[in-house]
């Protein structure tokens, strides 16, 4: 009641109050953050033009669309490919480093990774003769969001890999031996045995990754501050910005409620699926 219920109820209550008068303003704060504020959560005009910023809510959805499948596929690939390979543990440990490094430190690293003069990304472009395209990708509206998403893939892949590795250990060896005796190819074994038997593991990875993506904040705060011009902002950063930079608790709470509803919806659906599976 004290640590969960009261804060939730109070946040919802505050989201209906005016910043200036403290009076009840209905859905005004929601309308403001969704469509009216500088860099609204949904920027329809820019979405239609394919131009960033498209709004923090859309940015979160883009994040999920890219980050979720890529980290899951990479995590699964690393877990399966490195399972019985000599030295695989060392490679896994290196991949897992991403999840061990605090997000803030990871963010600082990525600022340098994308640096025009000192960064490894631009150094690589120069090596392959694409030096003309060298730039600080975090500073430009059309690349800023994608550069932080790419950074977050490195950070989170280790998590997916470890969970999948644990899941793989749970598959009985006899099943693989039977497939081998039947002359099943490795590819078919992967699709017909490994993937189906990792179904509940995948649900866990998807659930936790989605929740992580919905509340992503640290890396955006450190690498781009949501900029330029809000082009890489996300819901959590906008919430922080409204509540603590603009000191507008009502609009900050409105964003928090939107985030909570999205997170709760996703979590409820996936947890339900997990229980059934």
């Amino acid at each position: 009641v004290i640590f969960v219920l009261y804060p939730i109820v109070d946040t919802v209550y505050v989201s209906f109050l005016s910043k200036d008068s403290g009076n009840f303003v209905g859905l005004e704060n929601y309308n403001y953050v969704l469509f009216e504020k500088v860099n609204p959560l949904i920027n329809t005009a820019n979405i239609l033009q394919g131009l960033f910023p498209m709004g923090a809510l859309i940015h979160n959805l883009i994040w999920i669309t890219i980050h979720l499948p890529v980290t899951i596929l990479l995590g699964l690939a690393f877990a399966v490919l490195l399972r019985d390979v000599k030295g695989g543990t060392i490679v896994k440990a290196i991949v897992f480093l991403g999840i061990v490094v605090p997000l803030v430190i990871g963010g600082v690293l990525f600022r340098y990774v994308y640096d025009k003069d000192a960064g490894v990304v631009n150094a690589a472009l120069r090596v392959v003769g694409l030096g003309a395209y060298a730039m600080d990708f975090t500073q430009f509206r059309q690349t800023a969001l994608f550069s932080v998403i790419l950074g977050s893939i490195w950070i989170w892949t280790g998590f997916a890999m470890i969970i999948y590795s644990a899941g793989l250990e749970g598959i009985p060896k006899e099943v693989y031996e039977a497939a081998e005796i039947d002359g099943t190819s490795r590819w078919r074994t992967f699709w017909r045995i490994t993937v189906p038997m990792l179904r509940s593991t995948t649900l866990v990875v998807v659930t936790l990754t989605l929740l992580w993506e919905l509340k992503i904040f640290d890396i955006v705060y450190v690498v781009t501050q949501g900029g330029p011009g809000g082009a890489s902002s996300v819901l959590a950063f906008d919430m922080y910005s409204e509540a603590f930079q603009a000191n507008n608790l009502g609009t900050g709470a409105a964003i928090a409620v939107i985030m909570t509803l999205m997170t709760f919806g996703v979590a409820a659906y996936l947890v339900n699926r997990m229980s059934k599976s």
Partner: protein, 410 residues
């Protein structure tokens, strides 16, 4: 496991005693790091030598100072005694958690326009310490000489002769360096933008914008005209560089990758300036004003060492302390008692320019407005710099107008 338990228990015991034992040192927060921090510590060192009071200095990031520190001040007890910030708006917003310094400062020792922004109803909430002027474009005279470049006297000469000439110098990436801070915040871009506002629109335009939409809108034709001019230059390839960390940009200015860098006089204090006699500035051509910002010291309401903190505030406002600071270069004094002989040649030139007839010193635009508008301004300028076009400019001005209305009203 036993070792871990012992270590953790030791840390807890240490933390308990550390938190219950009052620190004997004064604690000061400011935004300076690197050379600026080093120079400030020389002043603190002199204070300690004179009074026997030790002082600990903690550098804060801009975001921490804007958000975390105010939260800390509203929830005593805390360790910090004295804070130095360049934002009058921040000082007024946090006045209820600060102690007045009215009795600690002799206001007649400072120009009125420096005292006025931190006064309210006869109460002085901060003491002026350091003044930073944003006098113009910094350049290396040796670079100009080697490439046959000359300082422009008119804006047309600057735009049509100097910028193309710098761009044509072999090895130059862009004529003008553009900076952001180490955390990616665009405050250095705001300094160069203010130069265009004052230089092309006049100092009164900046003063009007500081007052807010009740006097001047960001979408007014005069503002649009200034931004149109700036956007045109941003659109021209290699006139302005892409934004990058500002001290690194000074290094590239020094190595000849850029010809000019618009910034405050604190540029000369940076270690990237390898030869202090090979750095000079020229004012924004035909300007009638210059932007200046003051770093103010404030006393926290529940300062753990109130009496010593008051002594430090008094000391930092004194001509003696400020003379020590300006002698190290890259800083100007707010106390009028600091002799002209204390300044280095380049700083003296800045002081002379700022005191010149026909030049009006106006408060720094974003420092004066502060709040959410300030961070919006920095962020929107990053957008303009990295995707310059008339459409982006209109978006930026509309967003600045909306943010100004939100904060300052109509």
């Amino acid at each position: 496991v036993l070792v871990i338990i012992i270590v953790v228990a030791g840390i807890i015991v240490y933390a308990y005693y550390a938190s219950t034992t009052p620190q004997s040192k004064l604690t000061v927060y400011a935004l300076w790091s690197g050379t600026e921090e080093f120079n400030f510590k020389q002043v603190l060192g002199n204070f300690t030598a004179n009074t026997g009071i030790d002082v600990s200095y903690f550098s804060q990031t801009t975001q921490d100072m804007l958000i975390t520190v105010p939260q800390q001040l509203s929830a005593p007890p805390y360790d910090v005694d004295v804070i130095i910030v360049p934002w009058p708006n921040w000082i007024h917003d946090n006045a209820e958690n600060l102690a007045p310094v009215t009795d600690l400062v002799t206001t007649s020792q400072f120009p009125t326009n420096i005292i006025q922004p931190v006064s309210a109803d006869g109460t002085l909430w901060a003491a002026p310490f350091k003044l930073s002027g944003k006098p113009g474009f910094w350049y290396r005279p040796s670079f100009f000489e080697a490439n046959g470049l000359s300082v422009p006297t008119t804006y047309d000469e600057f735009k049509n002769t100097l910028l193309p000439a710098i761009k044509a110098v072999p090895g130059v990436e862009a004529a003008i360096a553009s900076g952001v801070d180490a955390n990616g915040l665009g405050w250095p871009l705001s300094d160069v933008t203010e130069a265009w506002i004052i230089g092309r629109g006049g100092y009164q335009l900046q003063l009007d914008l500081e007052t807010g939409p009740s006097v001047r809108n960001w979408t007014d034709s005069q503002v649009t005209s200034v931004f149109d001019e700036l956007t045109g230059l941003l659109e021209t390839p290699d006139y302005f560089s892409a934004p990058a960390e500002w001290t690194g940009q000074i290094g590239k200015l020094w190595s000849g990758a850029y010809g000019l860098f618009f910034e405050g006089n604190f540029v000369t204090a940076q270690p990237q300036v390898e030869n202090k006699s090979d750095i000079d500035f020229f004012p924004f051509p035909e300007t009638n004003g210059v932007s200046g910002s003051v770093d103010y010291t404030v006393l926290t309401k529940d300062a753990p060492h109130m009496d010593q903190a008051k002594q430090l505030i008094q000391y930092l406002a004194s001509a003696d302390a400020q003379e020590i600071l300006v002698k190290q270069g890259g800083a100007l004094a707010t106390n009028t008692g600091v002799p002209a002989s204390a300044y280095s040649a380049s700083d003296k030139k800045v002081v002379d320019f700022m005191g010149k007839a026909g030049i009006t010193i106006v408060p720094d635009l974003d420092d004066t407005i502060g709040g959410q508008w300030q961070t919006t301004f920095w962020d929107q300028l990053k957008l303009l710099w990295t995707d310059p076009s008339t459409a982006t400019m209109n978006t930026v001005l509309n967003n600045l107008q909306a943010a100004a209305i939100e904060q300052q009203g109509t």
